[in-house]
Symmetry: C2
Subunit: 338 residues, 2 copies
């Protein structure tokens, strides 16, 4: 009833369908596809034709199962709405795509629980490597990774152990605050939302710097756990101005908040930077376009993705990590808002 030259009605063409069609053995088809130079050009051609005629698409599950390599890398970022992580993803993808690795991209919504859940889900794919943003947050997540035994590279911050690529969030926060101090500001505020590890560390850097000049004052800090947004930036500026009307500079934990703060100043007729200097963090594309252009910390997020991918590739290949902790630095971009 069934024609052996054609794929079974029950599903798609398989390797043996192709093999039968090309009158070779299955393994030869496998080789023609994966290591073409190990197959004579004659058979290769016949096989290529069969593949095309049957519309054969290999099955990764079967391949992964048999070869014990999934050619898959799991990547977890806090949010896809944040351009910072999307730039990082692009760097990863640029580096991993050419090697045939496929990315399992997931966002955690800045939640440790979601992170663990997604991690578990992705580990079921037996990824060849895992890329994480920051530390694995929960005990469970760390246990999962330990059991899995896959190479892991952590991105964005620096840490004491394991492989990681990033820069010192503390130093960056410190550097930006120093810049404001050098501009002569003494009542410098820190406005933050989405209080993740990195935002906290930037706050640390800020506090370090203001303390050095005795300029620390709890009223100068506005921090809320809400998701960051431009709108929130305006709102938090209002709150800040209420609790510390004499502040003369604002360090926003990210650019989005800073934009919102600038817009709010425009509406209130507050001169930036004359009456109030405003600085952000990350140097997203728009920060150079807004009026006044935003002073901010440029972060090497794309490069972090590239380097993390390279590090992971090396780890997958079993190469000893020459420098497991890669500090890619940051740079202060001074524009008109300060």
């Amino acid at each position: 009833m069934s024609d052996p030259r054609h794929p079974r009605a029950s599903g798609r063409a398989t390797l043996s369908d192709v093999a039968r069609h090309a009158r070779v053995s299955a393994i030869t088809v496998s080789r023609a596809l994966n290591t073409p130079d190990k197959v004579s050009s004659e058979l290769r051609e016949r096989i290529e034709i069969a593949v095309r005629e049957l519309g054969y698409v290999p099955d990764r599950s079967a391949r992964a199962l048999a070869s014990r390599q999934s050619f898959t890398v799991a990547v977890l970022v806090p949010s896809l709405s944040n351009a910072v992580f999307v730039d990082t993803l692009r760097g990863i993808s640029e580096r991993l795509d050419p090697f045939g690795y496929q990315l399992l991209i997931g966002d955690t919504g800045y939640s440790a629980e979601v992170e663990e859940r997604r991690l578990r889900a992705y580990l079921e794919h037996r990824p060849d490597g895992v890329l994480l943003t920051g530390q694995a947050q929960t005990e469970g997540a760390r246990a999962l990774l330990a059991h899995a035994g896959v190479p892991v590279v952590r991105m964005m911050d620096l840490s004491a152990d394991g492989l990681c690529v990033g820069f010192s969030q503390i130093k960056a926060g410190y550097a930006l605050t120093r810049h404001l101090l050098e501009r002569g500001h003494r009542r410098i505020a820190y406005v933050a939302a989405q209080l993740d590890e990195r935002v906290r560390l930037r706050g640390e850097g800020y506090r370090c710097a203001v303390r050095e000049v005795g300029g620390d004052d709890p009223r100068l800090e506005v921090a809320v756990p809400d998701p960051s947004s431009v709108h929130l930036g305006g709102e938090l500026l209002g709150r800040l101005l209420q609790q510390a009307p004499d502040c003369d500079a604002v360090f926003c934990c990210n650019d989005d908040l800073a934009w919102g703060a600038i817009f709010e100043c425009q509406r209130r007729g507050i001169d930036v930077p004359g009456r109030l200097a405003i600085a952000g963090f990350n140097d997203l594309e728009m920060s150079a376009c807004i009026n006044p252009a935003l002073t901010t910390i440029a972060t090497p997020r794309h490069q972090i993705g590239v380097a993390a991918a390279d590090l992971l590739l090396a780890a997958i290949a079993g190469e000893p990590p020459a420098d497991g902790q890669r500090d890619l630095g940051f740079s202060l971009v001074v524009r008109q808002s300060t």
Copy 2:
């Protein structure tokens, strides 16, 4: 040499490792995990303990191979840098996560070739469904989908055949232009970048509307294929003002460009909307925050994700699509920029 109660050194714990550990058969472990109510509570408990002790994580490849269901859905969007698609992804994820589906998320960079390549790669995972943005661009992509025989839902625009969820880009472009006409503008420009299907359709709508009042003029259109960005918005405004100094309103094909145009007007001292009205498309978060607040078309992108997921779920379940073409509409949001 090897203790049968422990996973082999060569790899991670398998179902039979767990089975041995709990002194039951492998299939019972499988059932305890997938259909717990088909296993006595006693065995279930023993199995749960074994799972925990061994740190067992199921292997999706093996499961997919044996069950012929991958519980995976492939999603292709043009870009992750565009908040529009990220909002759509969120809608999809919200709907599909609870069912245990895992998303294979990929971006095409607005390229038809990349789309086909990614599609092929994702089909190797034997996804239970595919979510596409717009039409499958290439002949090859369409052939792949036809061969694969998986349910496909297309998002964002409307189309004649197959399952799709979106709204009429033409009508939206028309509606926005009508609004500008009703405001009394007669020299309305269309500024566009990233010329994908949707941007072109919006342009169609624009042209329809201006033609009705005899206001069409090629000098009023500035369109470049470059990736859209805020910076580009400013640049294109400059170009427009040069080739049509008398234009009195600008319809930007997306909000990013409109922001850039507004910033450029601020720098040039052009009054918005007094001298020049500016409108965008999509209603991203920032559009309500900028000064002047941006008039734009609010698009139901999150809802599109939700509805697309629902449609796909139904199609996977083999349910006949009651309404295969779902028009979710759009709405005009009039703010201060017009």
